[in-house]
Symmetry: C2
Subunit: 245 residues, 2 copies
């Protein structure tokens, strides 16, 4: 699962590349209104965002808005589904519905700048991973919604790109803490991952697959040999280390 | 989009094949407790189901439960996304969260019978279709949740099969009313579709693709030529007939 903050290198890259982006940033930039959302909980991020937009973009974002990066997630367990429907409902609010709400709020500015929306998802949002049923549901929902919206933008000649980022296992602190006891793979570096996310948004790509070889192979197998892929995914986990809570 | 009721032929087939199934049925069988959910709204279906389960399966389902068919949907528009996040939240309750809740309620009985769960979805739950963003989000969420759960069942040696049905354009009354003005294809027959749904559940298949050639081709293109598929999907609609409401 991806982290909710971006490493230092991304901030530098972003500041060198463009000055108007929103949605994910380091907690130590509280004085920059366009870069202060990474430090606060996702639900508050959404409120802040909506208040800022409502208060007038010109006061706080004098240069407008070029890129909306949607990256936050709520806590979910990495374990067998425990039957708690309320947990899925809550997770949908943070991981999915808030992404839609932020898109709705930002869209007038993004249309003006002919900007980009970057939606950070996961391989668990594309194929069947065990122990992530609530999380997978929310990430699949992002794919369904934003892929449909991208089609409508093209038909409607709205020049706002939508990039869906499909990430494998990344060495962010949160991801390693959550799944390292159960995953045998070596995680990919978060710095390179973050740069790839930025590049894919700037280049207005349809999807980012990172690490490209791993994610690309899994997605190809998904359709040509789904049962084989399911079996591979099950074998990728140290099931004996998953303890029911 | 699929209908919420099953045609007569399915009922006959079901009664000939097995006597213990639940979740979708014709409105004219109100006296059969295992076959009366098709006639009432989806939210009430869930309540009825939970009350019935809580009241004791032996009183109402003396033979237990072999198959849970999840097929109901709430109303959604076929049009450009209108920015209404509340509509998506409500649709998630009916099209997705109620499926999870019914599965949780039925699971003890299904484990006992080593039964099957059949989840009816759509090609809009697998690939990017324009004008269906809220609906697609809910159908993608089903894929994410139930595909992950299937993996956990296999790992946990729970012998309950999960079949995800990916349906194309079917000639049910609801589907034809909703999209015939905008779709150029000829819909596939609902009777054959319903039989394929039943067969796929009985045969404990991973997924049903119906009509198989159309859906199979689209899913293959999705990964090997996604931009081409997107373009095909956009051209499949009479966009001039989509009027913003």
């Amino acid at each position: 699962m991806e982290d909710t903050t971006f490493p230092e290198v991304v901030v530098k890259e972003a500041e060198n590349t463009w000055g108007r982006w929103w949605g994910a940033a380091p907690p130590h930039s509280p004085t920059h209104p366009a870069l202060h959302f990474g430090a606060i909980p996702a639900t508050k991020k959404l409120l802040c965002f909506e208040v800022l937009v409502a208060n007038s973009k010109h006061a706080l974002l004098p240069g407008g808005l070029d890129v909306l990066i949607l990256n936050h997630i709520g806590y979910s367990y990495f374990n067998y589904f425990n039957g708690d429907v309320g947990h899925i409902r809550k997770l949908l609010e943070t991981n999915f519905l808030s992404y839609v709400a932020m898109t709705v709020s930002a869209l007038p500015m993004l249309k003006e700048s002919e900007g980009s929306i970057v939606v950070v998802s996961s391989i668990a949002g594309k194929t069947a991973i065990p122990f992530t049923a609530p999380y997978s549901a929310t990430k699949f929902a992002l794919d369904g919604f934003f892929s449909s919206l991208r089609q409508e933008f093209i038909i409607d000649k709205v020049n706002v790109s939508i990039t869906l980022c499909i990430l494998g296992y990344i060495n962010t602190e949160n991801a390693v803490r959550a799944v390292s006891h159960a995953i045998q793979d070596t995680p990919a570096p978060k710095e390179e991952c973050a740069l790839e996310i930025i590049k894919s948004g700037v280049l207005r790509r349809r999807e980012l697959h990172y690490p490209s070889r791993t994610v690309g192979s899994l997605l190809l197998l998904r359709d040509i040999a789904p049962d084989f892929l399911d079996s591979l995914m099950r074998r990728a986990y140290k099931v004996e280390n998953i303890r029911r809570t």
